[in-house]
């Protein structure tokens, strides 16, 4: 997906946030550093800074979302933006003209920034191509392509607990094929020079191009978890599955469900992550999800800071060099 250059302006600064692919390590690190400065805002009496004051952000959710939508909304509100959230129910494929019509109608309302989730891969990119100059688009998940803010909050969580990516062994477990989160995570982990990225999944849930992403493939969970520092569980995306990719949920849990016993094969201080919503008893055992190695709820909170960071960088992009 050639989203690459569209995301950066002529000075190499972020103007849209569409995919991790096409970004560079400098931008990713800047997002993580900036998110760090925003975590303190959340601890204050008035949890607001005036960065987006007077700007209007439209959240367009063509696909259901709770966590991503609400953390985007909170991030926008904490930056003092005026916000508009549309949950657009789409049973038929909406693209081409009708999506363009949506864009133009909203542009007539003087929207400064769009956050968009859509079930079609490439839709955020399509949106970014058609908005007026100066208007920015953030991808909140497009089909099976990417979910870049989720990947960045995951990177933030990993860095918060483990600091140096170059010494880490990270395992991503589960439904890789349907996961835009996994794609974004793999790109981000590669850009941050992660020592080893393992992908653990049944062969039927691996896309054909996975190996070309620079990861180690495992179809055995117990082997794959050996000595890892970070375990990222993915949700089994039942709604996206067509045909007989899986025998049954019970069978899946028996082979790929994360239990404490299996987790014990990872390093003793390994952390367990999940982008949510989790299917308890399908990809992860309840006690592991609530256990002391789980940082799943922390991820949600970090999601606000990371989204604040991305939006601030976009708004502040015409600034001087950050090193000044």
């Amino acid at each position: 997906m050639p989203a690459n250059n569209l995301q950066l302006d002529e000075n190499g600064k972020l103007q849209h946030f569409l995919s991790i692919e096409g970004l560079n390590q400098k931008i990713l690190t800047e997002i993580l550093d900036t998110a760090g400065t925003f975590t303190s805002v959340t601890d204050r009496v008035i949890k607001k800074v005036p960065i987006l004051r007077g700007k209007t952000v439209a959240n367009l959710f063509f696909e259901a979302s709770t966590r991503t939508r609400s953390t985007f909304e909170l991030a926008e509100q904490r930056l003092s933006a005026d916000i508009l959230t549309l949950n657009v129910d789409t049973s038929a494929t909406v693209k081409g003209e009708s999506l363009l019509d949506t864009i133009h109608n909203l542009e007539a309302m003087q929207i400064d920034m769009f956050v968009i989730r859509h079930k079609d891969s490439g839709s955020a990119h399509f949106f970014a191509q058609h908005v007026r100059p100066g208007v920015s688009v953030l991808n909140a998940g497009d089909g099976q392509h990417e979910h870049p803010t989720q990947a960045m909050l995951d990177m933030y969580t990993i860095r918060h607990h483990k600091q140096d990516f170059t010494r880490l062994r990270v395992a991503i477990v589960g439904d890789i094929m349907h996961s835009r989160v996994a794609r974004s995570q793999i790109h981000a982990l590669n850009l941050l020079n992660t020592a080893e990225i393992r992908v653990i999944a049944p062969r039927t849930l691996l896309p054909v191009d996975t190996e070309s992403l620079g990861v180690q493939l495992y179809d055995d969970l117990e082997q794959g978890l050996l000595d890892v520092d970070v375990v990222i569980m993915l949700r089994l995306q039942k709604e996206r599955m067509r045909g007989a990719l899986l025998p049954s949920e019970k069978e899946y849990f028996n082979q790929f469900g994360l239990t404490q016993e299996r987790l014990n094969r990872a390093k003793p201080d390994a952390i367990v992550m999940h982008p949510g919503p989790a299917n308890r008893g399908v990809e992860i055992e309840s006690s592991v999800m609530d256990g002391n190695q789980s940082v799943i709820l922390q991820q949600v909170g970090f999601g606000i800071s990371v989204r604040m960071a991305v939006m601030s960088m976009i708004v502040g992009r015409s600034g001087l060099q950050a090193s000044e």
Binding site: G36, T37, G316, R317, S318, G319
Partner: protein, 178 residues
């Protein structure tokens, strides 16, 4: 050295002057909890605040303010992720705050700093202490305590560099909004 040469006193001398001028705000009969809170504006103001805090009230809280998010020119200046985030004592309600910055110029930094402080609570009083007042205000803000007032040619800037050693330099037409 760029621009016209203006003789600047040493930073140590100026910090000492500021320290002496601020001492009366810290009467010894008040407990540390009732004394003013010293807050420095990142980065130069915080370096000075640290020195003054050490000299006057090392046992009290010291606050750090990063006003980036409150600047009225944020969309032009952007973020500086390398600057440390604000960290203020948890409760500033009803307290006296000694707000410290290195250079007072347009007054916009101080306006942004006060906006940020009020998002943490409602202080009883804010005292503004400045190392160098170089004039050319753009908004009606004045300092309560000033160590040195200087006149600079328009377009020139005085900048505190540091932290080790702290040094004042005058630069011509370099981007440094204060």
């Amino acid at each position: 050295m760029h621009g016209n040469y203006v003789a600047l006193p040493s930073v140590e001398t100026l910090i000492e002057k500021l320290t002496q001028a601020l001492k009366p705000y810290f009467p010894s009969n008040l407990s540390p909890a009732d004394q003013p809170i010293i807050i420095g504006i990142e980065t130069g103001g915080y370096w000075i605040a640290k020195a003054i805090h050490q000299a006057i009230a090392p046992g009290n809280d010291l606050g750090r303010l990063n006003i980036t998010f409150y600047r009225d020119d944020f969309t032009k200046i952007g973020l500086h992720p390398t600057v440390k985030p604000s960290s203020l004592p948890t409760d500033i309600d009803g307290k006296t705050i000694i707000l410290i910055d290195d250079v007072l110029h347009s007054g916009r930094t101080i306006r942004a700093a006060m906006n940020e402080i009020f998002d943490y609570g409602r202080p009883q009083r804010i005292i503004l202490a400045i190392l160098i007042d170089r004039g050319e205000r753009e908004i009606p803000i004045q300092a309560d305590v000033v160590a040195e007032t200087i006149q600079l040619e328009s377009g020139n800037h005085v900048k505190l560099e540091g932290p080790d050693p702290l040094q004042l330099t005058i630069k011509s037409k370099v981007e440094h909004a204060s």
